[in-house]
């Protein structure tokens, strides 16, 4: 188990749990970051933050501090 912010660009995994609270958590869930969803880190922004994700066939950007709330099982390399 690791958290989404720890993944380097190009790596992916399967979401186990979405932490955090309130509006942020609701938004992450609404955007499809739900348990058992496959997600991949596509890119890191030039200044190192935020990151770009691919999930459910589209691209989403979130900040590292928010990615820290997402627990996932990393795919084997």
């Amino acid at each position: 188990m690791t958290t989404l912010d720890k993944l380097s660009a190009g790596r992916g995994g399967t979401i186990a749990q979405v932490g955090g609270e309130g509006a942020l958590r609701r938004r992450l869930l609404d955007m499809g970051l739900t348990p058992r969803t496959k997600v991949k880190v596509r890119k890191v922004a030039p200044m190192g933050d935020p990151i770009e994700l691919t999930l459910r066939g589209y691209e989403l950007t979130i900040r590292l501090e928010d990615a820290r709330e997402i627990l996932l099982e990393e795919d084997p390399a």
């Binding site: 509006a23 739900t34 922004a45």
Partner: protein
């Protein structure tokens, strides 16, 4: 009869709106560009009024747009809802569809971008999708106009039959049980509150505060609901919010597995990935962004815009002299002659010559927006803006502020929180709007003829630096709260349609022309009256005896510490509030008899370069024009807007004072 149009940002909502109504509206690609509620009469169905709701991802009341949309759907009872769904991104798009079904809305799903699905060799079984959702589903390609008539036919059929989705259970097991039990408890309350029973029950399971308040439950009922939800959470091993999101997505996944056949990554995605490899590159991303901005501003203000402006100015001069000759030939009354030439033509004309620049700027900005690059700008710049307590999304409104504060302030409505919105609005005036450009052009030509370009660029940078300092100050003093989470879609790059870009330019040009011929026209006349007559309403020979001069003299002492405590400067600043360009036209009228070309030389004789610089700094920073004030008032309320204006002018005074006083020590 009200028909609502609803869908995710970037799903092609605005394109469908245009196709259905035939009315002109701008199409954008930055998530949430449709910030206003727009309406239009549906072509071929004159009794149907189409309301374009903001682009949203969910009905959870998270952004102002979601709140507006939810309230509209619940309060206005539209006869039908057209839910536009991007077929190339169907899973996430259907999430909103499911929420509409929970609301028990009469929905027609317009499955857009089916042409792209086909071109990618993918397919969607529309019949199976329709059966799975229990809704009417129409495959369309809005950009090409395909299927638009079929949407209208289905809407008409839906309005006639008023059928709702027959699929009530999008959930299974524990969640289903909880919803079922709660809906019995709240049935009466929901009816009194005018909410669909099932929807209210789902919201109670979800823990939605606004719905809970609407229902006005009693304590025992709240307790029971609390227990039901706790049981559900315990049995599922997850919490209420995750449980419901998960339930919706599980339903969608299962449905898509049956209906959607995908061959792999789409052409659009592959292309976007390639473009992003360059545009959001680790090293080159920021230089490229800055390069694009420099290019846009050079083309706008240097090459294309300047050429067009000069040509346009010649045209205006020619028209003015023609009118002048005609008035002389007809020996029209002296006062009327003066009003038309020195008042109206000089005032409106000098502002009008700026029209081409504005059109060119918005041409480039709308290309950046429609291609999807603006979202990347937010992605690239987020970390920087976070330092002053904002998110990358605030970058776009501020950037638009360099064009005009009015659309910039309006664009802040896409921001997720009141806090971000207010703070962004406070910072927008620091982006020198394009109306300030003629002021800079004339004043730099007057005081720094050799370094015009350098000083001009310096002014833009100076404004930005002041904005950053102001932002840090605001963050420290008033905006302690955490910035709202930055969770944003990066839409696939799309080629902007010429129609959309040109429409946008035309809209801006129209706005500007209307402004020129209303506000500035009136201001020109008022100023002409004030400066041509004295307090006894006698026409004056010398401008120094006029009412305007009296007003200027009254205010002038305030500006003495800044180095320009004369009535002409004070008067120009006052008239600048009608529209910033009016500073130039007023100066032209007062200093060089309406001749803008002779103005720089005349000004150079009036001020020292340092006082000139101080004057430029003040005009750069002081409160925005009435049009922008009106926009700000609409967003934050009158009292707060007044406070913003006062603070802004205070900042301008302090900065100009610093420039002049510190400069005086050295010069």
């Amino acid at each position: 009869m009200i028909i609502a149009l609803l869908g995710n940002p970037n799903a092609g909502k605005t394109t469908l709106f245009n196709a259905l109504t035939g009315s002109n509206q701008h199409v954008g690609n930055f998530p949430g560009v449709t910030v206003e509620k727009k309406e239009g009469q549906i072509k071929g169905a004159p009794d149907m009024r189409l309301v374009d709701l903001p682009g949203i991802y969910s009905l959870s009341p998270y952004t102002a747009e979601e709140v507006v949309t939810r309230d509209f759907l619940i309060g206005q009872h539209p006869s039908a809802v057209i839910n536009i769904v991007d077929a190339t991104n169907i899973e996430r798009n259907l999430y909103l569809t499911l929420q509409l079904m929970e609301l028990n809305m009469p929905v027609v799903v317009a499955l857009n971008m089916m042409d792209e699905v086909r071109e990618n060799g993918d397919s969607i079984d529309v019949k199976a999708l329709s059966d799975g959702l229990g809704l009417r589903v129409v495959p369309i390609a809005a950009a090409k106009g395909e299927g638009v008539e079929a949407v209208l036919e289905q809407v008409q059929a839906l309005v006639r039959e008023q059928d709702r989705s027959s699929v009530l259970d999008t959930c299974t097991g524990e969640v289903h049980k909880a919803i079922h039990s709660i809906s019995h408890i709240i049935e009466d309350h929901a009816q009194r509150a005018g909410l669909p029973k099932r929807y209210a029950a789902i919201k109670m399971v979800e823990g939605d505060e606004p719905t809970s308040q609407l229902l006005k439950l009693h304590e025992p009922e709240e307790d029971i609901i609390h227990h039901i939800v706790e049981d559900m959470e315990h049995n599922l091993g997850t919490d209420r919010e995750a449980a419901l999101a998960d339930m919706r997505y599980a339903f969608i996944e299962e449905l898509c597995q049956r209906c959607v056949h995908r061959t792999g990554q789409s052409k659009e995605q592959a292309r976007s990935e390639k473009i992003d490899r360059v545009l959001t590159h680790k090293v080159w991303g920021i230089p490229i962004f800055l390069g694009i901005m420099v290019l846009v501003f050079t083309l706008t203000f240097g090459l294309i815009g300047k050429f067009l402006s000069d040509q346009f100015a010649l045209l205006i001069d020619w028209a003015t002299s023609l009118l002048d000759q005609a008035l002389t030939a007809l020996s029209i009354n002296e006062a009327v002659h003066s009003l038309l030439i020195e008042g109206v033509c000089a005032g409106v004309g000098s502002v009008l010559s700026f029209l081409p620049t504005i059109v060119v700027l918005f041409f480039f900005l709308s290309i950046l927006e429609d291609t999807g690059y603006m979202a990347r700008v937010a992605f690239v710049m987020d970390k920087l803006l976070r330092k002053i307590g904002l998110s990358g999304r605030s970058f776009v409104p501020i950037l638009v502020g360099f064009g005009c504060s009015v659309p910039a302030v309006m664009a802040t409505r896409t921001l997720a929180s009141e806090r971000d919105r207010r703070m962004t609005i406070l910072l927008i005036p620091f982006a020198s709007c394009s109306a300030k450009l003629p002021i800079y052009a004339v004043l730099t030509a007057a005081f720094f003829p050799k370094y015009g370009g350098l000083v001009m660029s310096g002014l833009y940078v100076f404004g930005i630096v002041c904005g950053i300092l102001y932002g840090l100050l605001l963050k420290g003093l008033f905006f302690h709260g955490k910035p709202v989470p930055f969770v944003m879609e990066l839409p696939a790059y799309r080629f902007p349609s010429a129609r959309s870009v040109l429409l946008h330019c035309w809209e801006k040009a129209k706005d500007f022309l209307v402004k020129a011929f209303t506000i500035i026209f009136v201001a020109s006349i008022v100023i002409w009256v004030l400066q041509s007559f004295d307090t006894r309403l006698l026409m004056v020979d010398n401008g120094a005896d006029s009412m305007l001069a009296d007003l200027g003299r009254l205010l002038a002492p305030i500006f003495r510490p800044l180095g320009f405590g004369d009535w002409i400067s004070a008067t120009a600043l006052v008239t600048g509030l009608t529209a910033k360009e009016a500073v130039v036209s007023t100066l032209a009228v007062l200093v060089s008899g309406g001749d803008t070309a002779a103005l720089p030389a005349a000004l150079a004789g009036m001020y020292s370069p340092l006082a000139g610089l101080s004057f430029i700094v003040f005009t750069l920073l002081y409160m925005p024009c009435v049009a922008a004030m009106a926009a700000i008032r609409r967003e934050v309320g009158g009292l707060r807007a007044a406070g913003y204006m006062l603070a802004q002018t205070g900042v301008a005074w302090v900065m100009a004072c610093l420039v002049y006083q510190i400069g005086s020590l050295f010069l």
